[in-house]
Symmetry: C2
Subunit: 331 residues, 2 copies
DNA sequence: TCTATTTGTTGGAGCGCTCTAAGGCTGTAG
DNA sequence: CTACAGCCTTAGAGCGCTCCAACAAATAGA
């Protein structure tokens, strides 16, 4: 199992270790003859450079650290996918850790990631205190995804939730709705800006807002709709797709048809929303793009192209499907 | 940005670098006095060990390489989640790559992972030729997830798809169904064993099989059901949950009720199936467990506890929800 | 008291690589 | 035939750590 080293390759090709190093790094200042000899020897021995030794000697890293709460959540998985795509394009590798939404575990994960002296660090919706993030940012460039921060040393990539919900409200208003309720996400992470966006959009249209406390689950959506009984609005803007689907089933159980009697809009454009059976009008977040932008932000700093922080605020977009329609009797 | 090293810590604590190393590794053969001094100096300097230098010097690795086609797919994301959980428990870190279902890209990803000299390698449903896998296995322990192999040097973790579909058929038969159709997954990856499982189970019950060519999408499921019109079975076993949901909506469009007129069973127990609105009877694959077992298989080899290959064949389980019921008029 | 043992500590070599500075070679000019 | 550019090539130091052998100090046994 003793794998060959540069010395072995050099010996076999009849050159020095340093020359092998130059060839492996694609240096132009190597004669074609030597280069061919080295490459052939490497091939014969099945040699491949040792990334860690290389990183240690060159004092540079081609690794990006990624901390994610859990991959279980499709949102994060797709962000990581985007990160990986950009990283791979530039010859970087990802080292991954999960923090499980616990500050203690996240702190440990952070330490572990930093011990690799990564070229940069992407933290996806972390829950650790800002102080820890600031400390990490002293060691390596840091980008925060789905968490905002005022730290002057870190970049951020976020979805403009306020605007997203605004799109949903505008859409409903343009269909003729005036009595539009919002089922909010309670304490959930992006719930506050979404609620703000709803209130702002309603105010902009001169409509009376109606926020119903709910949560990011289908059960929550169903419960909230049952609470609405007796004074049903003509349209509902849910905090996310799961909540919307729960709301729809409760509406149908109550004998109301969607979108004939009540229109419903979700948020996130999960694979669920796209199902024909569900065909939910919803707000799309460019998840993969989150990852791509995060990776690019890090790479810019790595290359020293930028020192001031960048704050990406991505524009969500409306995806109209079959759960929204004009109200039957305009209010 | 010049981070402190062991020498710095040693100097500050008034001890040698070697002693600092012992403290960092938690060696018992250090006096309490020195240990405290070292720990304090490390704290003051904000020192943390350099994982790569450590790995290089000790000729051991605490890194597991993971190659996944894409994280977009929730199945893989959850497997990675399981891998990470076990890895973290044992102080291992994950280094992640995607292969994008292209042999060329996978080969590149493999090379990149191997360049870190990982303690082990987990390949999730890889498409590279067996020869490449064998070559990787010469360098480090390899475990294959969702791909079987005869290589004596690699471990495998798979779902027993044959048995899973068998559970579905048994369930339907026990409800009284006799005319049970299977919408298969066409060329899809686990489609063949599932089809085999269906045929075997039907034969075991002495029933006439009926396989309808379909695919792993809701559109595919809907189309297949429309093809069934005129000779509708009393029950349908779909190749996966998406297909099942598509089948259900086509059935409802045709004026049939589920499960009153036709029962439907999915496969995978995705989050979709669990939605109240869908509430699909389905077969659960222990996805997280796949990852856990894969990680454990690697760690066993790392620790030298095992040399013979292990072949995990995980038992899927039936999750009964609301889309199956006895047929109205037993055939 | 003196030698064995145990316990704690240290210098130095070396992991596989990069990088700098210096060296060898060619070819052309003097 | 020597000088001086190039252009290749190489020796050697060193990245931050681990590990071994050696040693000093403290303890035990005789």
């Amino acid at each position: 199992m003793a794998r060959p080293t540069m010395d072995d390759v050099g010996k076999r090709a009849g050159v020095s270790r340093a020359l092998v190093s130059l060839v492996m790094r694609g240096s132009p200042k190597v004669s074609d003859r030597r280069r061919a000899a080295v490459l052939q020897a490497a091939e014969e021995l099945g040699y491949s450079p040792h990334a860690m030794a290389r990183s240690l000697a060159s004092r540079t890293s081609h690794v990006l650290g990624v901390m994610v709460s859990d991959l279980h959540n499709a949102f994060f998985a797709e962000v990581v996918d985007g990160l990986d795509a950009v990283a791979a394009e530039h010859g970087f590798d990802l080292i991954l850790n999960t923090g499980g939404r616990s500050p203690a575990r996240e702190r440990r994960a952070l330490r572990s990631l930093l011990s690799f002296r990564p070229a940069g660090l992407a933290l996806l919706s972390p829950v650790v205190p800002t102080a820890d993030i600031g400390r990490a940012a002293e060691q390596t460039p840091v980008v925060l995804v789905a968490r905002s921060s005022r730290l002057a040393t870190v970049d951020t990539v976020n979805d403009d939730g306020e605007r997203g919900i605004g799109l949903a409200v505008d859409h409903l208003v343009s269909l003729g709705h005036r009595r539009i309720a919002h089922l909010d996400g309670g304490e959930g992470s992006q719930s506050a800006p979404r609620r703000r966006g709803y209130l702002a959009a309603m105010a902009a249209h001169g409509l009376a807002p109606r926020v119903v406390r709910s949560e990011y689950t289908d059960v929550g959506g169903a419960r909230a709709v049952r609470g609405l009984a007796g004074d049903m609005p003509t349209a509902i803007v849910s905090c996310n797709d799961f909540n919307a689907v729960g709301a729809i089933s409760a509406l149908e159980e109550a004998g109301l048809r969607v979108p004939r009697d009540v229109s419903v809009v979700g948020y996130d454009n999960t694979s669920l929303a796209a199902l024909r059976h569900v065909s939910l009008t919803t707000i799309d977040q460019p998840r993969n793009e989150f990852g791509r932008l995060a990776a690019e932000a890090l790479l810019q700093r790595v290359r020293g192209e930028r020192v001031e922080p960048v704050r990406h605020l991505l524009h969500p977009s409306l995806v109209v499907r079959s759960t929204t329609a004009p109200p039957v009797r305009p209010a």
